[in-house]
């Protein structure tokens, strides 16, 4: 069960995507798995619209975003990227087209850079991308992506374990 608590400095985990559009649902699926772990002091959220991130970061020092990507890799392969302070922008060829798609949709890359421009970007932002195979309407996760969920959850947990949970650091 996803829970969102008041925005604070606690680490934030965001599953980005639509839960009923094939592999676009991998972000929400991984976020739900993290929420089910009941990690103390970790804020977990699911959103479809990347523009929500600009406000969602709050005062978080660490954020982990899970999203489907299409970068030419094998379906289910994980792509990790850091875009926090001092990091460069996301490669738009991969990330901007994720989620809703289309230029009307403000992609993740644009949301991150807008957050950076406005001074809202957390110190550390880790993006966990899962290479998608299909975004069919109403479809479940593809077998390759479904089998990657466990590894994605482990990556998120590993990132969270690196930081003192719930600290102000």
């Amino acid at each position: 069960m996803i829970r969102e608590v008041a925005s604070g400095t606690e680490p934030l985990v965001v599953g980005l995507g639509s839960p009923d559009r094939g592999d676009d649902g991998v972000g929400p699926t991984v976020a739900s798995a993290i929420a089910d772990l009941g990690l103390s002091g970790v804020r977990v959220a699911v959103h479809e619209d990347p523009t929500d991130l600009v406000h969602l970061w709050g005062r978080a020092e660490l954020a982990v975003v899970i999203d489907a990507v299409m970068s030419g890799r094998a379906a289910g392969e994980l792509v990790l990227c850091e875009v926090g302070w001092g990091q460069g922008p996301l490669p738009e060829s991969c990330w901007a087209k994720t989620g809703r798609g289309g230029t009307h949709a403000f992609g993740l890359a644009a949301a991150v850079e807008l957050s950076r421009a406005l001074g809202h970007l957390p110190r550390r932002v880790v993006l966990v991308g899962v290479e998608a195979a299909s975004f069919d309407h109403g479809a479940p996760l593809s077998p390759a992506v479904q089998s990657a969920v466990e590894a994605a959850v482990a990556e998120v947990r590993a990132v969270l374990a690196e930081a003192p949970v719930g600290s102000d650091a």
Partner: protein
């Protein structure tokens, strides 16, 4: 990218026209400083959806057609519900209509705030994107995000999702939000009203190219209020008819350079969208909206496509006002839907998507299976007007260098907030000179 042709002409190639959604390309040919040809090439997905709808159940169009677009799904849902309900002889309740209007306000707020600030304002302020704009206009962008978030929140509450609502069904909704849930959003919406009126003042200060176009305007009209979720069809030439007569006036046809059908209205070019709505229904805006529009330099009719950003701001304020009004007047306890039993027949629905009138037609058999479907989206209807604007804009500024001319042409396209495709594709802009 610019390069010379072997005949001495010049090709300017822009690989990606940002801040416009769509798939296709545009080609402008200029010979001896005279614009000879303007073609907007589009690959339009709704045709695919029409075929996809055949054989599906009468209850499915709201969910299927919502997927056509991530920014105007409510327009599709509302028009499809209207059409199916008409076939089945069902009239929904005032409470259901009010909730549809509230959901639609959420969509207008989402879409208009996105386009005004994120997609269109950078053109006027000399930025390539809202990200660059944020450095100098941080407070404005923060306000834009707040406004958009209010729309997202309204869509999430009423529609169940911020992007592709799942709470809409033929006959109404699966569940109604409670008054208490709606009141939780009211403070942000009330703030949105004030910030939307500030938006009108802000965009009115932009520099607008002098350009007026004489197109026929077509929009929905409702006797009781500024038409959003339903109405009859009216035009500046004096036409007025029920939605079911839409096919008798609008002729869709194929042009060689575009996969999207073009359209004429009573044989001529026409425009749907904010300028048309505003000009045809100005008297039905709130007194405050009317006063703000006049103070912003708009007349009761607006013919300058570049000033569509002001009109969108006026409609943004109106949508916020309407959302607050509906919430204030809401009483819990209304049934979320009315029962709908399938019947054989043909039905028609239309609503005002943020970028213009959308029309749906369905044919059902006695079991409620869809035999035929037709969807006429606003951007498809506006293609000839966009091309005409581009021709005029390119000719007016033909002496500009390729970079500036390209920018003006892109700006002219974005005046329409075109929603060319719901897929992840971009418009390819090409100018040939010789």
């Amino acid at each position: 990218m610019t390069h010379k042709l072997s005949d001495g002409g010049q090709v300017l190639h822009v690989g990606m026209l940002a801040r416009v959604e769509g798939e296709g390309g545009m080609h402008i040919e200029i010979h001896n400083n005279v614009v000879k040809s303007v073609k907007l090439n589009i690959f339009e997905p709704p045709r695919f959806y029409e075929a996809f709808l055949r054989g599906r159940k009468y209850t499915e169009p709201p969910d299927i057609t919502a997927r056509i677009c991530g920014i105007c799904p409510v327009a599709y849902q509302t028009a499809s519900c209207e059409a199916i309900e008409q076939i089945c002889g069902v009239e929904t309740t005032p409470a259901i209509q009010a909730m549809r209007r509230l959901l639609y306000c959420g969509e207008w707020i989402e879409s208009h705030s996105l386009h005004i600030f994120m997609l269109h304002a950078p053109d006027f302020l000399g930025f390539d994107s809202v990200i660059e704009m944020a450095a100098d206009y941080g407070e404005v962008v923060e306000m834009a995000l707040r406004l958009k978030k209010s729309g997202n929140d309204l869509m999430t509450l009423v529609g169940g999702r911020a992007i592709h609502p799942v709470n809409v069904k033929v006959g109404g909704f699966y569940r109604m939000p409670t008054k208490a849930q709606m009141l939780a959003l009211r403070p942000a919406l009330a703030r949105g009203v004030e910030e939307a009126f500030e938006t009108i003042k802000l965009v009115a200060t932009f520099d607008f190219p002098e350009m007026e176009q004489p197109y026929e305007y077509v929009a929905l009209h409702h006797p009781d209020y500024y038409a959003i979720e339903r109405g009859t069809v009216v035009s500046t030439s004096g036409a007025g008819f029920p939605v079911r007569e839409f096919p008798e006036h609008v002729n869709e046809f194929h042009v060689e350079h575009s996969n999207a059908l073009h359209a004429t209205f009573d044989g001529g070019m026409y425009m749907v969208g904010p300028l048309a709505r505003y000009s045809l229904n100005f008297s039905q805006l709130s007194e405050r909206c009317k006063a703000a529009a006049i103070a912003a330099g708009l007349g009761e009719t607006c013919r300058n496509p570049f000033k569509s950003i002001i009109v969108r701001a006026v409609e943004l304020a109106y949508a916020f006002e309407e959302a607050v009004r509906i919430i204030d007047e809401w009483k819990d306890g209304a049934a979320p839907s009315v029962p709908v039993t399938p019947k054989a027949g043909e039905g028609f629905g239309a609503s005002e998507a943020p970028r213009g009138t959308i029309f749906h037609r369905y044919v059902l058999d006695a079991d409620g299976v869809i035999q035929d479907a037709q969807i006429v989206p606003p951007t498809s209807q506006n293609q000839p007007a966009i091309e005409a604007d581009l021709r005029k804009a390119a000719q007016s500024w033909v002496d500009l260098d390729d970079h500036d001319l390209t920018h003006r042409c892109e700006h002219a396209i974005r005046n329409y907030d075109p929603c060319i495709s719901c897929a992840t594709h971009f418009l390819d802009l090409r100018v040939d000179r010789s």
